[in-house]
């Protein structure tokens, strides 16, 4: 039961035919072949599927495709074209925040949403913003350090 859905994705307009009751995660990965967004748990608990919709970080495994209609969406694929996103990506690599890399797209999107709302977050605010993103590899410290480094880099 496909319908026409229109939205802005990574600053580009899209009009697609998709099932409005599919998960938006599946539309990204299957209909649009954008596989940067990962599926971990599928129930909102790991954050691997985090994307940014209308400036809010949300888990795309719990977003209905129909809810994307008319929305402004960012995924990890669009990050390098933004200043905040490209600085975050560089700082993640420089600070050892990427090991297996499975959590990284979701982490980057949560960090991106945070820095859009709050360009100067405290360490506590950074931890709160990524509390819904699980990482089995790094122990989180390098990730928090990377986001702090990005904040400094963006301010200078």
């Amino acid at each position: 039961m496909k319908q026409t859905l229109s939205f802005t994705l990574n600053h580009k307009p899209y009009t697609i035919e998709a099932d409005p009751c599919d998960r938006f995660l599946d539309v990204l990965r299957n209909d649009l072949s954008l596989r940067g967004t990962k599926e971990g748990c599928g129930v909102g608990e790991c954050g691997a599927c985090t994307i940014v919709i209308n400036s809010n970080a949300v888990t795309s495994c719990l977003v209905l495709a129909g809810q994307a209609d008319g929305a402004d969406i960012m995924t990890v694929e669009g990050l390098s074209e933004t200043e905040i996103g490209s600085v975050l990506q560089r700082c993640f690599i420089e600070n050892g925040a990427v090991q297996c890399g499975f959590c990284t797209p979701g982490m980057l999107m949560s960090a991106y949403a945070l820095l859009q709302h709050n360009p100067n977050p405290t360490r506590e605010e950074i931890k709160e913003a990524i509390a819904g993103n699980l990482c089995r590899c790094t122990g989180y410290v390098p990730i928090v350090n990377s986001i702090e480094a990005a904040v400094k880099s963006l301010q200078s």
Partner: protein, 287 residues
Amino acid sequence: MKYKAYYRPQSVPETVELLASLEGPVVLFAGGTDILIYAREDDRYADSSIVNIFGLPELQGITLLDDEIRIGAGVTHTEIEQSPIIQKYAKVLADACRTIGSLQIRDHATIAGNICNASPAADSLAALAILDAKIEYLHEGKPCELPLVDLIAKPYKTVLTDRDLVTCIRIRRLPEGTQTVFYKLGRRKALAISRMTIALLAHRAADGTVDDFNITVGATFPKPYTFPEINGILLGKKPDPARIAEIAQAISAKIPEIAGIRKSTTFKQPVCRNMTARLLNELFTEA
């Protein structure tokens, strides 16, 4: 997700008209953070018409009224947590919503969804109950209203039909100087046995007597409750250790009385008694 048909009305009147015209079961779909979890378990929505109400303009916004605050049904937990109106006049609800899930969940999940899902463990319910929350909804297009404590019938069940659209929630606007506390024990993933919340509000007159008081326990009973007779222990009196102990004893005694004696009772009853006493002592000895 298997479903019969999908609709996205653009306004409340359009939704009412649509709901009247649909045959078979209907699912009002807001954030979907509960519905999409259920949809994974089985094909329970295969015969249902999905009506996406997320983002309907009339269901947005938090407004200050004379004695109350109006919260649109579609307001997210993040919006409540960050609202200057809620922080100033009903802080206990901002504190409760802040403890829900992760930021990604709070950014997308709505207050009406948390209420209508009617999980006994839903974290907004205890705070809403002590704020005398009233739920406004449209039944066949007609405006109706029920107190929260009457809206929820039993675990995961409200008295609403599948076509009753909640439009807003009204809560008390607390007078300046009212103190509130929200306490949460345990995480969502933790066993239900170890989950409990306590929500309370208190105001003292210039001479120190308590002239406004409401306390309840959440994630413990099958539905939200308030206890006027327990509030009465403090109302019109000055708080002292004996009265605080009496309240702690009375409210923890409600656990076996309402929820029955279960394995969790032996854990929850003493925790409830001790935490209530501690929170009240802290509250009344501060400043």
